[in-house]
Symmetry: C2
DNA sequence: CCTTCTTTTTGATATTTTTAAAAAACAAGC
DNA sequence: GCTTGTTTTTTAAAAATATCAAAAAGAAGG
């Protein structure tokens, strides 16, 4: 058994005892990843194995440095069990969260801790080979700054906006220059396995695995930015749909207006309930003479952008707060529909607009009561992301880890 | 090993080799249920077991009469493999599909064949103890008519409209008279394990397991009747949501009208795109002088109901067809939203309105092109149910079978 | 009709895994 | 501080399972 048996994940042809061993070990590691420090007894029950077998597996994993003995647990009356958990420094995962004007890069260890993070690294995303090369350069320079952990990086997770098919590794909205899937192209350039993911889905996973989500197994995550994206965790699993295009809530036809959406259609949720709509409305109101902290005279009008509006909202700008509440109220219409369809346990508000906290959450909540079936919406909690703008990178890292520990059937 | 080891499903405490054996056998049976006749080689690969082990398990299952040897497969060049499959007559499942004015009851064998079916048995569903007792009586009298198959019924599936939590066995909209879950109450009355399910979900499962669905793993099933229900199969699993209330698409707020929905809100999808809306519009049009096969004079107006409209549509009544097309078009608005959210491989139209076939499907299809993102909707096929009004009963039967064969982890 | 080729099935052996019993580790009470 | 009770861990024997080689069962071609 190779020390890096984890990388065997892409080898499907193994069978018999070799497969079984890898499978069992992965299940153990996945259990640790989900439940934290555990005793042999817990593992036995969860994996349906005998105690001696678990002991043997743990010994192997400890030999291979993936697992550590974390000492005794509090006694429950008799002999206290030994606790085991993942060895933090045995493997690392790199996450790259690509935005339109910047990139977040982070490295996490095997225990999901952020080892190193660089946020808001300037970068311009465009659908060109140069932009792709620049991204690779950024990643490489980040890796250069790492110590011995560099050799232990098992995989790199990359979040992109738009249409991403995580299973095949294809990105269609950006960097689709070759016949090969982008994940392969990147793997060749960076020398490490690459997992591609849609940005909203990665954020959703971040919150699910290490964020505001606790025990909930059915969670909707809304990525509120200029547009509206959604990532879903259903029955404890990230949901992709047929080709990984799921979660396009921004273009749900819920309004009867005449605003032309970017997608070319009318009545989309995004036309009235997005950061884009917020910015437009804010500008219109200012033009019509509304007062705000943000603009003293018409000259400043062009400095208004979504980020600025969110910022002044935090310092209690009346106009910003009023308009954000409006957005929240209208968003409620869409989310109500989603709650009726999914009956989720939790809806998480994330993305840049979520930074406004209760300013958007409370109006949304009252809209939910108005639009969704009460019995269903009573089942559903509404929380604001607690990872904030780190949800994306963290999600990218953790998704790679998850991929490595995943075993089908 | 008891012959009826299948009933051990509710016993969670078994462990070790006993658990393993049951688990393995169930996996074998589940594989047969999903894939039909299979050779040892297929089973070996799918279950990650050795050939001698599979042989031994099959021998046991054949001893227990659950599996039969179905002779040789066509050779692929060498020795032809033996094919094995479920023994049809080894176990039976009873399904009860409860509607407001009638009940469908059916018995299926272990190979998913309908052994006996009674459709449209008159019955009045109301939320009273009498109605519940009457239902039990119907079921019992159906069972009395069965031969030796009666003793081999492993479980009874019951479909109810409204809010049903299949996991706990509680029904909230109907028959919630005791503290005990309704499934337990029924089990006590009927003497056999009962599985409760929401009607739309059961229909969805019926189509998924034995209907129009082929290889697709992400399927939305629409139950188009007076109201609109939805059942979803996501990643090959029936989706329930937190408490089993998922799929409430009828009350998605997508219109900007002033029609008050049954749920008390305005703008619901149901107000313009349901059987209820169809009937209302039909009546209004007739009142305003439109001509139709259905009504010669105003006297006949009260005989109009959804079923009648669907019937005359089939005999090419212009008004009916025109209005059904309208409904389809408006339904498209809602389904477009769902397609954007789920990126399903297939949307199945079921329920009584689906009997109108292309009359509803084609307008719906063109609306989909109008309202949903083309890239996403190109992924999605739209088909009409092929089980028709048997989807419900069959779904009920097959869901029970599925429950028995299900193994967690 | 026999030989050769391919693939499945069976059987014997080796390995893995479980079971059950013994040992070890700690808490609490005397 | 020792004994007893409880729970975990280790150990060795028993059971289950996989591997590998041999046999069997057809198909194809001469």
């Amino acid at each position: 058994m190779n020390k890096l048996f984890l990388t065997e994940q892409f080898n499907d042809s193994i069978s018999g005892v070799a497969y079984k061993s890898i499978h069992q070990k992965k299940r153990l590691l996945a259990y640790f990843a989900e439940h934290g420090p555990s005793a042999i007894g817990d593992l036995r029950r969860a994996l349906h194995l005998s105690v001696p077998k678990v002991t043997a597996l743990l010994n192997e994993l400890m030999e291979e440095q993936f697992v550590k003995d974390y000492g005794k647990d509090n006694s429950t009356g008799g002999r206290p069990p030994n606790l085991y958990d993942l060895a933090a420094e045995s493997a690392y995962f790199l996450g790259v969260d690509v935005h339109r004007t910047f990139v977040n890069i982070a490295l996490t260890d095997f225990q999901k801790n952020i080892v190193k993070i660089k946020e808001q690294v300037p970068y311009t995303l465009s659908n060109t080979q140069e932009s792709l090369d620049a991204l690779c350069l950024l990643i490489k320079s980040f890796m250069k700054e790492l110590g011995q952990s560099r050799e232990k990086i098992l995989g790199i997770g990359v979040n992109l906006t738009g249409r991403v098919n995580s299973a095949t590794g294809f990105s269609y909205s950006f960097f689709h220059f070759e016949e090969q899937p982008l994940s392969e192209v990147l793997k060749d350039k960076l020398g490490i396995q690459v997992v591609l993911e849609n940005d909203s889905r990665a954020m959703a996973y971040g919150e699910f695995a290490a964020g505001v989500v606790e025990q909930e197994r059915n969670v909707l995550f809304l990525n509120l930015d200029y547009g509206i994206g959604m990532g879903m965790v259903l029955d404890g699993q990230l949901y992709y749909g047929k080709s990984g295009y799921s979660g396009e809530v921004g273009h749900m036809p819920v309004f009867d207006n005449n605003i032309i959406c970017q997608c070319g259609k009318k009545g989309c949720l995004e036309t009235e309930a997005s950061g884009w709509a917020l910015e437009e409305r804010f500008k219109t109101r200012v033009r019509n003479g509304a007062t705000t902290q943000l603009v003293q005279n018409q000259e400043h009008l062009k400095t208004i952008d979504l980020e600025a509006i969110i910022q002044v909202a935090e310092s209690d700008d009346v106009l910003a707060i009023e308009l954000i509440a409006e957005i929240g109220e209208q968003l409620g219409r869409g989310i109500a529909a989603l709650i009726n369809v999914f009956n989720p346990e939790l809806v998480v508000l994330g993305g840049s607009l979520a930074a406004t906290g209760d300013y958007i959450r409370l109006p949304l909540l009252s809209a939910l009561n108005k639009y969704s079936l009460s019995l269903v919406s009573n089942d559903t909690a509404l929380k604001v992301s607690n990872l904030g703008n780190r949800a994306g990178v963290l999600g990218a890292c953790l998704l790679v880890q998850h991929r490595f520990l995943a075993t089908k059937a």
